[in-house]
Every structure is written in C-alpha cells, then in structure tokens.
Amino acid sequence: MRFLAAFLSGGLFGIGLMISGMTDTRKVIGWLDIFGDWDPTLAFVMGGAIIPMAIAWQIAARRATPALGGTFPAPPEPRLGRNLVVGSVLFGAGWGLAGLCPGPAIASIVWGGVGGAVFLVTMILGMVAAPSIKQSLAGAQTT
C-alpha cells in the first residue's frame, strides 16, 4: 500500500508539473525574466499548489498519525543558517540557466531529449558531490 500510494502521488505530481507548464523551460525562464517579457504563470502554479497543501498541514495537525501509519514530519527547523542561503542561490542560478528544477527534470526524462538527460545526469552528480561541499562550507565557517 505504501508503495502504491507513493507511486500515485508521484504520478499526480508529474501530471501536475506537465499541465502547469513547469516542464517547459521557456515558461520557467519567462517567469524569472522580470526585466523582459515576464510570464506570470508560475505564480498561479505556486498559488494553486500551496492552497491544498496548507489545508493538508491543518488536517495533519489534528491527526495522530498518517493514514498508513508512521509519524508526521517534525515541525520546521527555525534556524536559517548559511547552507540554506548559499544552496538556494546556487540552485536558483542553475534554475535560471536551464529552466529546470529537480521535479520537472525527472518528470520529463522520457521526452526531454539529450538536453534533459544531460541535465539529469549532471544534477545527480551534483547531488552526490553535495555532502562533501557542505562539509567544506562548514569548515570554512569555523576557521
């Protein structure tokens, strides 16, 4: 059941990314292009996604456990920290360059062509390298 539920959530996420235009790099770069021909679509995508999820958090707060057992995620960590800012800036730069973030990069792999494949492979390489980069950032902070 857990696997079927996760499989269907992933599928719904993918179809949502596709319908909303998040798998089209022109729309994503268009949204980030505030000084050019700005495309507001992504604001509607974020709004449309945040509303049902905000309701879900409210429901979760009133329940002891998820439907299939286990525990709900811990409350959000209050500390911000340098990793959050440095990581988000690096991520945003890559997002602006190619117009892909992790969800759409995975969802579009069947039809994303060579460019999509290169993005996915290099993204995974970056993810594998990230823990050691994180460590050296922490090291730089203490010295």
């Binding site: 909303s20 790099t25 770069i29 069947v110 039809w111």
Partner: protein, 141 residues
C-alpha cells in the same frame, strides 16, 4: 496563450494534491530533491523503496501522457555545456539548501516555514539575476 494561467492553476492544484496525499497517507514531505538526493547519496536508506515508487510514478505518468499527446516539449537549450553547468548547480544547491521548489516552495511556504520562505526568496532572486545576466547582458539563453 490566454489560458496559460488557468492551466498553471489547475496543474498547481494537482501538485498540491499530490503533496497533500504524500503527507496525509505516507507521512512524508514531498520534496523532489530530497526524494532523489537521499537515494543517490545513500542517506536515509530505510524508506528507499517508497521513494523509488514515488519516482517511478513521477517518470511513468507524464511519460505516458507525453507519448499519448505527442506535444510535450521541454524546450531545453541546445547548449549542452550550459545545461551541464546548470545541472551541477541545481544538484549541489538543492542538497546544500536541503530543498527545492517542491520542498521549500510548496511544502515549506504552505506551513509558513521561515526556512521555506527564505529559500524561495533566494532561489527566485538568484534565478532572476541569472536570467538578466545571461539573457539580457550576455545573450547566451
């Protein structure tokens, strides 16, 4: 197209419903970078199969939809060196920041997490500056 905002809202609602289901049924935060990242760097092994099932759905459903409609196009730039740099930045950045558009953006902002809001401000800001630099000043994208 004039109906783009409507498709955005509809697709966004499906993304939100997927995140809601993953939370209320499986008890997990639906963050794409965490789901794939913790598989490839082999952290958090205990739920690996659940994450693989999520990723299988994420690849299969839109993949089949793309084959059926035949119109899906990501319009990724042909400049593969640029794509590779972008991929590395996204991979490193999302794992160092511990989240991306789905985790910090959708799941974080919806519970008013300060980390989610701050991350979103910085990645949208950095993305906007990158587009200004590489599209309008350098003309590379």
């Amino acid at each position: 197209m004039p109906q783009d905002w409507l498709l955005g809202l509809l697709g966004g609602a499906l993304i939100g419903l997927a995140a809601a289901a993953y939370l209320l049924i499986n008890g997990r935060v639906m963050g794409a970078s965490g789901i794939i990242g913790s598989l490839v760097d082999r952290t958090a092994r205990e739920n690996a199969r659940e994450r693989i099932a999520f990723l299988a759905g994420l690849v299969l459903f839109p993949g089949v939809a793309a084959l059926v409609t035949g119109t899906a196009n990501t319009h990724v730039t042909g400049n593969l060196a640029l794509v590779a740099v972008a991929g590395l930045l996204v991979g490193v950045g999302t794992r160092v920041a511990n989240g991306c558009t789905s985790g910090h953006g959708v799941c974080g902002i919806s519970r008013l997490s300060l980390r989610g809001i701050v991350a979103t401000v910085f990645y949208i800001g950095a993305g906007g500056l990158t587009v200004v630099l590489f599209r309008h000043l350098l003309g590379w994208i």
